[in-house]
Symmetry: C2
DNA sequence: GTGTGACTCAAAGTCCGTG
DNA sequence: CCACGGACTTTGAGTCACA
């Protein structure tokens, strides 16, 4: 997974669901649009850092975490 | 310093100079343009994640480091 | 609750110069 | 070697209707 967009989309979806939010609810929190979040999670967009920053803030994580391949919260549990 | 663009520009300039590269030389390394690097270091642009990723890679640091307010290498040395 | 194509408008990104 | 401006093409931002 070399693609930053892919890592962003995956982590966004995971972290959003971990907060128990729908795309709509999260879009509202982040001050973005429902469909835009949808696009991001489906890797269909190439956002600017300011958008990434807004998302990271809304999720309560750092940009580094949001773009990382090894998310901070869940411990490695391969096979589960 | 809440501005991601500001953190990016500052860190980019520091890290680039630490590598002893001119803007032109670094632009070439990163596959970007001379004037664009100049703009970024002057906080005049809002780049996409893909170019931030390219810059981080060219600098040999993580995106988190590139956007961080606390650079990894030098310890705090106020007054020096 | 989510995916998708289409649309407008501004900004990303490239390239030309100049001091 | 760098700041800065102008001009240009491509793409992102932001939104909608419809599946």
């Amino acid at each position: 997974m070399e693609d930053v967009r892919h890592r962003l989309g995956s982590n966004l979806r995971k972290l959003r669901q971990a907060k128990g939010l729908s795309q709509e609810a999260f879009a509202d929190e982040a001050g973005l649009h429902r469909t835009y979040i949808s696009d991001l999670e489906r890797y269909a967009r190439n956002p600017t850092i300011t958008v990434v920053d807004r998302i990271a803030t809304a999720l309560g994580v750092s940009i580094g975490d949001l773009l990382d391949d090894t998310p901070s919260s869940p411990p490695q549990n391969p096979g589960e």
